[in-house]
């Protein structure tokens, strides 16, 4: 599967000569990284929830203004790592002009994972959530409801396929087929998002391999 030429990478779009494309690309990047950045600021830089949200807003505004993210070079690592290092620089500069308050929340203080791991996990959550929302908007039919009931089920025990068949009034084989088709659609939605958020085919393939253990 070749990297699609018709789908413009948002990272690539940050370099575009057209201001509209640049703006739209930054919106895509910001929406994917908003939550990861905000939570990273709370854990790594011990910011309160409100300050982290303000700093996140300021970081993306500053990035657009000074075109920081446009300077990303894929040979030096993933975009995610580059963005995090830009964020660290941004926070260090911001702290020079204000008191570095440290109101660390208990739930964040007790986390076992490193800020980098948290950043990665939140990026994944943001990616998967947006893929699920895409599916919900496009496929709000019976198949999506079965998918939601089974794969997006947060309770301790998932219903069996037979339970779902009885609940939705279809055969168990249909449940198997619906889930297979929705998982395929979900994976495609994630890969589409991932294409937006990677610069080139190599980075895209590396991310897919790390995410799903598959080759594309």
């Amino acid at each position: 599967m070749a990297f699609p030429k018709t789908r413009q990478s948002a990272i690539l779009g940050l370099h575009d000569g057209d201001a509209t494309v640049r703006h739209r690309s930054m919106e895509t990047v910001a929406s994917a990284y908003w939550e990861p950045v905000c939570k990273y600021l709370r854990l790594r830089w011990h910011e309160s929830y409100e300050d982290a949200a303000d700093l996140t807003q300021a970081f993306f505004s500053k990035s657009i203004e000074s075109a920081t993210l446009i300077r990303y070079e894929p040979s030096k690592g993933t975009f995610r790592t580059y963005l995090r290092s830009c964020l660290d620089h941004f926070v260090l500069n911001a702290r020079k002009t204000r008191n570095p308050t440290v109101p660390l929340d208990f739930d964040f203080a007790s986390q076992q994972e490193s800020p980098e791991e948290l950043f990665h996990r939140e990026w994944l959550r943001s990616l998967f959530t947006s893929a699920v929302e895409d599916l919900r908007a496009r496929r709000g039919d019976l198949r999506f409801r079965v998918f939601e009931r089974y794969d997006l089920n947060d309770s301790d025990s998932r219903p069996t396929y037979d339970d779902l068949a009885a609940e939705f009034g279809v055969t168990t084989a249909s449940i198997t087929n619906y889930l297979a088709s929705m998982r395929r659609a979900f994976r495609k939605a994630v890969l589409d998002r991932l294409r937006d958020l990677t610069l080139n085919e190599r980075e895209f393939r590396t991310e897919v391999r790390a995410l799903f253990g598959i080759e594309v």
Partner: protein
């Protein structure tokens, strides 16, 4: 926002192969090996369970399909998934992996006969120019009747074809495999390590020497082929001297006695009887 639990689940199902265009239904993952993941699946046409391996390329399936031997797991079918990955269905083997296998008797003969059965399919593959490349206890299945099947030909390749990555597993991989070299000698090294795994002390020094020679760091010091290795094992089982070990005269005598117990008892009885007769007649 999705919870951590849902994230984990979605990653798992995202990794699962899409079998909707095939006649197989996924049951569960049963293993991960060289270059691929193996699932237990149900063949809905033939109503039987199969082991389904998902690969990035078809070479393994083609190579494996060309090896018809009772000790090599047979390939039923190959195909391509919607995402471009290759799958092949093979016999679902029931049995005990060699790393979980324990001989039913304390005798050394049983594990050595098992080892000889392990060597047979490897020798056969070598005769067809195919090197397994990742022989280890986890890739060897012992059936209910002591039959042996060699699994996971995921990094098998044609002999002496250099590669950037020649695969293998630490502890069972020949040192030259790190440099991308594979050949019959690399499998012989792994067989030597498998033999070591089967032995439990105290073992005769000669059988340890056979394992050490097979797994010698220098390929030129190993057995020239699998048949030479099996011939050494057979010599050991027959109570004959082995090339890998230089015996002392005491060990030679002990081995001769152990091999000729009846004759030794007769001779000893005769000697004792003559000594007693001599002693009593000359009092």
């Amino acid at each position: 926002m999705l919870s951590d639990k849902i994230l984990r689940h979605l990653r798992e199902v995202g990794e699962l192969p899409d079998l909707s265009a095939t006649r197989y239904q996924l049951i569960r993952e049963i293993g991960r090996g060289g270059m691929g993941v193996v699932y237990l699946a149900h063949d809905t046409s033939l109503n039987r369970n199969v082991a389904l391996k998902i690969l990035d390329q078809a070479s393994e399936a083609c190579m494996l399909a060309s090896l018809e031997h009772p000790g090599i797991v047979p390939v039923y079918e190959t195909g391509i998934l919607p995402d471009g990955r290759v799958y092949y269905a093979m016999k679902f083997v029931r049995g005990t992996r060699l790393d979980d296998y324990h001989a039913s008797t304390p005798s050394l003969a049983e594990p050595l006969h098992t080892f000889l059965r392990i060597c047979e399919p490897v020798a056969f593959a070598h005769s067809r120019g195919v090197i397994h490349g990742d022989l280890k206890p986890e890739n060897i299945m012992i059936g209910a009747w002591g039959d042996v099947l060699i699994l996971d030909w995921g990094i098998a390749r044609r002999a002496n074809v250099p590669a950037a990555f020649a695969g293998g597993t630490d502890g069972y991989m020949a040192p030259e495999q790190l440099a991308g070299v594979t050949g019959p000698q690399t499998d012989i090294y792994s067989l030597g390590k498998v033999l070591e795994h089967l032995l439990s002390p105290p073992d005769p020094k000669s059988i340890r020497a056979i394992a050490a020679k097979a797994a010698h760091p220098d390929p030129s010091m190993r057995y020239a082929g699998v048949m030479e290795l099996t011939a050494e094992i057979v010599r050991f089982l027959d109570g004959q001297p082995v090339y890998a070990y230089q015996e002392s005269w005491f060990e030679r005598v002990s081995r001769w006695i152990s091999r000729n117990k009846t004759l030794t008892v007769l001779v000893m009885t005769y000697v004792v009887a003559r000594t007693l007769i001599f002693f009593f007649t000359h009092r």
